[in-house]
């Protein structure tokens, strides 16, 4: 049983990462009905920038955190202005934005590779001891738990933002009824820019938080992009709840498969679950009103 619970606790940490990427998608999707395929690469930029600042330049954690969050949010905002906005203005239902944001992610990855690709993959300092604490017989790593805490904080912060602020309420409403919101005179461009800024900030925060776990590997972006999407597909599209549940389920399932199956083929787990969900319950485990718009 120790093995089982260890897998579950590690899975919660990994699942939190997928969930965070999925939340990033959800924020943008509910405001713009598009998807940012660079979301995973933005997380990667957060990781690499943390590595650059802390490992290479010994910048303190807090300063790194602030810089990373600001910087990644800015890239995300630039993406909105340059890459996504033309599609929103055109109001086309086609998937041009899909190709365009994928193109943006390729650009980001290539730039980072050119800057840092020659460095050996190395560790990034953690604010926590590398050991863990014991719960019963299960040893839980500090950094892993910290990622989970970040996950919870982001969920709560987003919830408060969506309830208490005007723009947050607009976004929340927009995920349910887009036309009604545009009739209320809310500027869709402001909403779209805010969504990209927020999703970028979440990506930066995620990158900083997971940096000590994943090391300085600039090739992880696409994997997170896709896993975050799988979380949504499993949990249900368009709601934060779907992203949270789907991400955690995927993370735990992968870890359990590593323990009881064969860790070499971990990557197949997500594919099998998603195909099963598509066959049995195509709208995801939690249906949401936005799902039908797909």
């Amino acid at each position: 049983m120790t093995l089982f619970f260890t897998a579950v606790t590690v899975g919660l940490g990994i699942g939190a990462i997928y969930g965070l990427v999925g939340i990033g998608y959800t924020v943008i999707f509910s405001a713009t009905r598009t998807f940012n395929l660079a979301q995973g690469d933005l997380v990667m930029v957060g990781v690499m920038l943390s590595w650059f600042m802390m490992t290479l330049n010994h910048v303190p954690q807090i300063l790194t955190l602030l810089t990373v969050v600001t910087f990644v949010a800015l890239i995300s905002w630039i993406e909105e202005r340059l890459v996504v906005r033309p599609f929103l203005k055109r109001g086309s239902s086609a998937f041009g934005w899909f190709i365009a944001t994928l193109g943006f992610s390729v650009v980001i990855e290539t730039v980072v590779n050119n800057l840092f690709g020659n460095h050996a993959i190395s560790a990034i300092p953690s604010p926590f001891p590398s050991t863990g604490f014991k719960v019963g017989s299960v040893i839980v790593s500090y950094q892993n738990s910290f990622v989970f805490v970040v996950f919870i904080v982001v969920i709560l912060a987003l919830e408060i933002f969506q309830r208490k602020t005007w723009i947050g309420q607009a976004m929340r409403a927009s995920s349910e009824d887009r036309e009604a919101v545009s009739l209320l005179g809310i500027n869709p461009s402001v909403m779209s820019q805010s969504a990209f800024l927020i999703a970028g900030a979440i990506a930066g925060l995620t990158g900083w938080a997971i940096a000590p776990i994943v090391f300085s590997d600039p090739s992880i972006g696409l994997s997170y992009t896709v896993k975050g999407f799988l979380a949504l597909a499993i949990g249900g599209f368009g709601s934060v709840r779907g992203a949270v549940v789907g991400g955690l389920l995927l993370g735990i399932a992968e870890q359990l498969f590593d323990v009881y199956g064969n860790s070499d083929y971990e990557i197949v787990v997500g594919l099998v679950i998603v195909l099963a969900v598509l066959i049995l319950r195509p709208e995801g485990l939690f249906r949401s009103s936005a799902a039908r718009a797909v």
Binding site: P86, L102, G103, V106, T225, D264, V268, L278, I279
Partner: protein, 627 residues
């Protein structure tokens, strides 16, 4: 060899010249083993692009993981060949590759196409990550080292060297032909319809799920052959060959070259592949260039190089009218339909009956229909019966539920209460494409057309519903298939003639004036040989002359026994044309009867604010209308 004859009438000379140039490439670029390997890799990419284009370019579905199919097929060929010396021929490997790719395509496509859209995009992208990861851990596939035939002493590569490269060129040529044949078939037109608008495709009775699955399977074959050819030629397969970057390269190639054309993906991927093979220092930065190209093309020029080429041609060769591509053969076929006999027979040159076979007197009946949107009841217990041969107008102020009712009948909205029947068939339990197949045709408020196809092709898509030959024969261009194509073109032309658009047959539908587009939509709807025709505000924005042409077309449809349900704001048009009028108000039927009954109804007059009563000035009697 009807295929060859068909090609011979087209650009066969150009085709042969290009193949010959490609064959001679080693004479110019060198024929060292290393150089041939580079060329063969580019060939494999081109084959891959040709396959991907069928899904991405023709059907507009986001298929982003061609490298996964390439990898699975290449590895399947490699595993079989390295373990079995008897199965080391190029053709056996290609067969294994194609079959494996087909199996994987089925496993992925069948579930993910149920939702489609970016689900398909993401899942196929994920597949591009999964395949290299899995084979790198799989001992049978050689793990990180991969598989190689180089050290296999039993293996004799034959053909080898330059002939092997040239065979690759021929395979590519055959695949290009395969792609061309699909594009210019009934299936290709269906894919184009799905790409243009899913609703439009459904309204033409096209079942989008099975059509997309077919496209996916057809696309898998070239992807599989590409992987197998690559392995045979280079004798080496390893996880680093089939990274997602390969998919990105091919995707960039297709987007840059112009998806949807046969040649565009080959040109674009040729550029991308050559750059990565021959510009050494560029490799490091190619992601930036391709990324920007993907963004730029997606934003600015969705049709890529081929689209820009067509635009330039149009600008600098204005002498040639904007004739849709490959209209030549259709033109030939259509000429045969010029006679008055064909036009009089409504273009149903084979005279087959309307679909369904329920006899002539079937009614379209909506009983106690309700539908809400959120808290608003758009329709509340509406009853409506449309009779064959009758023009039935549905009028009412904005928001009275007219279009909602039309969308319910044609299956685009789900009913909340009541039922809609066509004779004995319940319609409200069926999908839109099934309803269209039962004989309910419709038009849209904003015309939905294949903009970059000729007006004729737009109608041919609808005529395809009644083609005498199966889809397969259309794709294979067999004799029967070609005969059906000719019949389709002839019927379509007759249909266009009937609404007075025969002169516009070969113009791009997207370039026609708005009113003409509406007539074209009606011609297309009538080409389905419907029992009932639903028109959604057909007169909106039309000039007086266009309204007259429209009225003639509607009247002629009714005279042929079609029941027409006309949603219309323009009261003079309604009163000049309709036999029967139903007035909706706030989701309920306010009045029903002949135009004179209804226009005398004080309730009806009252809801049209500002009008005391309708006068004779409101009427126009369309010229040539037989009522």
């Amino acid at each position: 060899m009807t295929v060859l004859r068909r090609v011979a009438t087209g650009g066969v000379a150009t085709f042969v010249i290009w193949v010959a140039i490609a064959m001679l490439a080693p004479n110019v670029l060198g024929s060292s083993t290393f150089r041939l390997g580079e060329l063969e890799y580019i060939l494999a990419l081109l084959m891959l692009a040709t396959g991907l284009n069928i899904v991405l370019g023709y059907a507009g579905q986001l298929f982003l993981g061609p490298s996964a199919f390439f990898g699975v097929a290449g590895y399947a060929a490699a595993i079989v060949a390295t373990h079995n010396a008897g199965l080391q021929s190029l053709w056996v490997m290609c067969l294994i590759g194609a079959v494996t790719a087909l199996i994987v395509a089925a496993v992925v496509a069948l579930p993910s196409l149920r939702i489609g859209g970016f689900y398909l995009g993401m899942l196929t992208l994920y597949l591009a990550l999964v395949v290299p990861d899995v084979v790198s851990h799989w001992s049978l596939a050689g793990g990180q080292q991969g598989l190689s035939l180089v050290t296999d002493l039993n293996f004799v590569q034959s053909p080898t060297g330059v002939p092997l490269y040239q065979i690759g060129v021929l395979i590519l040529a055959v695949l290009a032909l395969y792609s061309w044949v699909i594009k210019h078939s009934r299936l290709g037109r269906r894919l184009a319809a799905i790409q243009a608008s899913n609703e439009m495709a459904q309204s033409l009775g096209i079942t989008s799920y099975s059509t997309k699955v077919a496209a996916f399977m057809l696309a898998a074959v070239p992807c599989g052959i590409a992987g197998a050819y690559y392995f045979y030629a280079v004798q080496f397969m390893n996880p680093s060959v089939i990274t997602p970057n390969m998919s990105i390269d091919v995707l960039a190639g297709i987007t840059i070259g112009g998806g949807g054309t046969v040649l565009g993906p080959i040109i674009g991927t040729g550029l991308v592949g050559s750059a990565s093979q021959f510009l050494g220092g560029f490799n490091q930065y190619q992601g930036i260039v391709y990324g920007i190209a993907l963004i730029g093309v997606a934003i600015g020029a969705p049709t890529g190089i081929m689209g820009q080429y067509a635009k330039l041609k149009e600008r600098f060769l204005p002498a040639r009218p904007a004739v849709a591509p490959l209209a030549g053969k259709q033109r030939e076929a259509a000429r045969g339909a010029g006679g008055p006999a064909a036009a009089n027979s409504r273009g149903t040159s084979d005279g087959s009956p309307r679909p369904g076979g329920d006899g002539p007197g079937v009614l379209l009946r909506a009983t106690n229909v309700s539908r809400g949107f959120g808290g608003v009841r758009a329709l509340d217990g509406v009853n409506l019966t449309v009779t064959p041969g009758v023009v039935h107008a549905l009028v009412g102020p904005n928001g009275s539920g007219k279009t909602t009712l039309l969308n319910l009948i044609s299956g685009f909205y789900r009913l909340h209460g009541g039922e809609i029947c066509l004779g004995p068939h319940r319609l409200d339990t069926r999908r839109a494409d099934q309803i269209a197949q039962l004989g309910i045709a419709r038009t849209f408020q904003t015309p939905k057309l294949l903009d970059v196809e000729s007006a004729l092709t737009n109608v041919v898509v609808a005529c395809d519903r009644h083609a005498a030959a199966p889809v397969v024969s259309s794709v294979l261009h067999t004799r029967g298939g070609l005969r059906a194509e000719r019949t389709g073109a002839r019927d379509a032309y007759a249909m266009l003639k009937e609404v007075g658009l025969d002169e516009e047959s070969f113009r791009f539908a997207g370039l026609l004036p708005h009113g003409t587009q509406r007539l074209l939509e009606i011609a297309r709807a009538m080409a389905l040989r419907p029992k009932f025709l639903l028109l959604d505000e057909p007169a909106a924005g039309l000039s007086a002359a266009e309204v007259q042409a429209l009225s003639r077309a509607v009247r002629s449809a009714a005279d042929q026994g079609v029941g027409v349900l006309l949603v219309e704001h323009n009261l003079p048009v309604v009163f000049g044309l309709a036999d029967q009028v139903t007035v909706l108000h706030q989701g309920r039927v306010l009045a029903e009867g002949t135009p004179s009954d209804v226009s005398a109804n004080p309730e009806v007059v009252r809801i049209y604010i500002g009008r005391e009563r309708l006068t004779a000035d409101d009427r126009i009697t369309p010229e040539g209308a037989s009522s």
